[in-house]
């Protein structure tokens, strides 16, 4: 099993590799979206890599996460396959959800990924439920919900944290505060200046960490995990970070300045972590370039894989509607197979 923890040299290199993979994956996703090959909407994680990687490096591989609309980073940090992810973004049948989910709905049981989520704030209740399952079945796991600063204003997020706190569930709520809920600054959406202070309402630990520092994130999550496994209930962690791209690709970003972006980029999480590893003698520039080249190749392969995969056939829209096939649905699917979907109705 890959060594993936901030506490060993190999694990730190793996963490850097995953951060770089996220950046390369999302850079290419942005390009292929702009070219029109990737449909719908994509929300890129570039700039926030330390949060996903610091978090997942501190979790056990068996732990469960729920994600957000900005989920590619969480997927890669949790160990999902970039080829299957890219195929999903392209809407192809070899993707994680057979091309039926797309960027905002990637889910994978084996990786403990409960799903990216197109609805802001919808993930935390799922994580609370997953934590209840863990608790009931006495499994050595935790469930962690990634959520954005915007989601903290959603009613169901409050319900989720209150339930998990009241029942002392093995859950962690990881708030990625990237300063903007869509196009509106965080201070226009919340009366609190520190979102981790919401934890006081539930009488659980709440702390704010530097989300541009992968080690700081990992330490906080490790502590929260320990607490959750000890039966002491959830922790709320706010990671202060910044997205370099718009809320979605194509966002005009008239709500922020170039200077603000540049200030955050000066503290880039990948650059600083790379420098730290070089200073500690755990990485050379050559190692880094080799790593970067291998990632570029892997993501190029992922693009090729996605391009070569087929679109799902029309009748596949009916697959997996229910656990067992339903005669009427089978009849519809058969009809599409035979007449090419010329009519969805009665005629």
């Amino acid at each position: 099993m890959t060594d993936y923890t901030l506490e060993t040299e190999a694990g730190r290199r793996e963490s850097l590799r995953r951060m770089l993979t996220i950046r390369e994956f999302d850079t290419k996703a942005g390009q292929y979206f702009a070219d029109g090959e990737i449909p719908g909407f994509v929300h890129l994680y570039i700039g926030e890599e330390a949060v996903a990687v610091g978090t997942c490096a501190a979790l056990d591989p068996d732990d469960l996460i729920s994600s957000t609309h900005r989920g590619h980073g969480h997927c890669i940090a949790k160990g999902l396959d970039t080829e299957l992810m890219m195929a999903e973004l392209f809407g192809k049948e070899d993707g994680y959800c057979n091309g039926k989910g797309g960027s905002m709905h990637i889910a994978d049981v084996e990786s403990g990924m409960l799903g990216a989520n197109g609805i802001v704030g919808a993930g935390p209740p799922l994580a609370t439920g997953a934590a209840l399952s863990i608790d009931y079945q006495d499994r050595d796991q935790v469930a962690l919900a990634f959520l954005g600063d915007g989601a903290v204003a959603q009613g169901q997020v409050h319900e989720a944290i209150n339930l998990a706190s009241t029942w002392d569930l093995p859950a962690i709520f990881l708030v990625e505060n990237n300063r903007y809920g869509e196009a509106t600054p965080v201070e226009k959406q919340h009366n609190l200046s520190q979102l981790s202070d919401t934890a006081q309402a539930y009488d659980i630990p709440g702390l704010t960490v530097d989300g541009m520092d992968v080690t700081a994130v990992a330490e906080a999550v490790k502590e929260a995990r320990k607490r959750a496994r000890a039966g002491d209930g959830p922790t709320l962690i706010e990671a202060e970070t910044y997205r370099y791209r718009g809320h979605y690709e194509g966002d005009e970003q008239n709500y922020r300045t170039d200077e603000e972006l540049e200030q955050w980029q000066e503290r880039d999480a990948i650059d600083s972590f790379k420098r730290r590893l070089i200073d500690r003698g755990e990485l050379t520039e050559d190692d880094f370039e080799e790593m970067q080249a291998a990632i570029e190749e892997a993501i190029a392969d992922a693009i090729e894989y996605a391009q070569e995969s087929e679109f799902p056939a029309p009748e596949e829209a009916y697959d997996d509607m229910f656990s067992e096939s339903v005669p009427e649905i089978e009849a519809f699917a058969e009809r599409i197979r035979t007449d090419g979907g010329s009519n969805g109705g009665d005629a």
Binding site: G99, A153, E182, G344, G345
Partner: protein
């Protein structure tokens, strides 16, 4: 509508939304727009662009991401003298607010025996055709029409958009105003600069015909008209009726048209089962059974979650599928 000679602007549907909001806000200080990114940013689809600068932050309110809070707050505002126009960024984001909408907005008047009212317009871009899955593309008008106490409007042209929006805002009861985002920028139309209304609950005959009636609304209106024109080349004279308001539905217009033609096709992009085509068919059966000359056809989306990308082309009724149904119904 005003009869005076008016200046017009050539607007897209989304620009007509903006223009409609602006002219109603100028008319009535109690009209207040609120929602996610509707203020300084101007909204994801630019439907509220410029309103913040024109009316200020007290009347164009940026809210947190909190749909239940937005709709609940709007109900409270409406109950006490304001005319809120909350925006749901996509209609698929409305479900967290569903309780407020269904349990409270729709029932405030009857529950209080008319003492409280809820003059509110919930605007939401809706429908497919933009290559996005699930919540970003689905058509759920039937769940709102099913709720007595809500009015439901779906415009299909820029002119109607401004007029129906004005009528909705002036209406004393809650209106769900679903804007077909596929045609937000698809075409332009001359729209009067001054305020006017298009009455709620009145269908529009988009094409007169004698041979069969096609009932539709929203983004499906244009492909339906194209299908009708194409069928006309072979002498099939279809009447196309754009319902515009889905609740209350203009059943008189439906029945009148059907009595003339005796044949009907209903087109909607929502899934078939439980969709409004069933309701329209039932209305025809009850009111005009003895005029019926052929089975009524439904051309609809499929009974699946709204699919992504490639499958979307199969999902959405398009002109050829509609034309097939017109021909089959005509020949039946």
């Amino acid at each position: 509508m005003s009869t005076q000679e008016s200046n017009t602007q050539n607007l897209t549907l989304v620009q007509a939304v903006r223009d409609g909001l602006k002219s109603e806000m100028e008319r009535d200080d109690d009209v207040i727009v609120l929602g996610e990114d509707v203020g300084k940013n101007g909204g994801v689809f630019r439907a509220t662009e410029g309103l913040y600068d024109a009316f200020g932050g007290d009347r164009v309110i940026d809210t947190p991401l909190a749909e239940s809070g937005i709709i609940g707050t709007s109900i409270g505002m409406a109950a006490y003298g304001l005319r809120p126009v909350p925006e749901m960024q996509f209609s698929g984001f409305m479900y967290p607010a569903f309780d407020q909408l269904v349990s409270h907005a729709a029932r405030l008047r009857t529950r209080s025996r008319g003492r409280f009212t809820c003059p509110m317009v919930v605007r939401a871009p809706y429908g497919g055709g933009i290559r996005a899955p699930e919540h970003h593309s689905e058509s759920k008008e039937a769940i709102y029409t099913h709720e007595a106490g809500l009015k439901v409007v779906v415009p299909s042209t820029p002119y109607d958009t401004k007029g129906l929006l004005a009528a909705a805002i002036r209406d004393p009861d809650p209106v769900v105003f679903l804007e077909p985002k596929l045609i937000y920028r698809a075409f332009r139309e001359d729209v009067p600069e001054e305020p006017y209304t298009v009455e709620l609950g009145e269908a529009a005959v988009r094409r007169e015909g004698e041979d069969l009636s096609v009932f539709t609304w929203g983004a499906m209106t244009r492909p339906t008209l194209e299908a009708a024109e194409s069928a006309a080349e072979d002498g099939i004279d279809a009447e196309v009726i754009d319902l515009r308001t889905l609740s209350p539905m203009d059943t008189d217009a439906i029945v009148e048209s059907f009595k003339k033609t005796g044949r009907a096709v209903v087109v909607h992009e929502a899934p078939k089962t439980g969709g409004l085509a069933g309701e329209i068919t039932a209305t025809i059966q009850t009111e005009a059974l003895y005029y019926q000359e052929a089975p009524i056809a439904r051309v609809t989306g499929f009974d699946v979650p709204y699919p992504l990308y490639a499958l979307e082309d199969y999902y959405m009724p398009e002109d050829t599928r509609i034309e097939d149904a017109i021909r089959e119904t005509y020949g039946a």
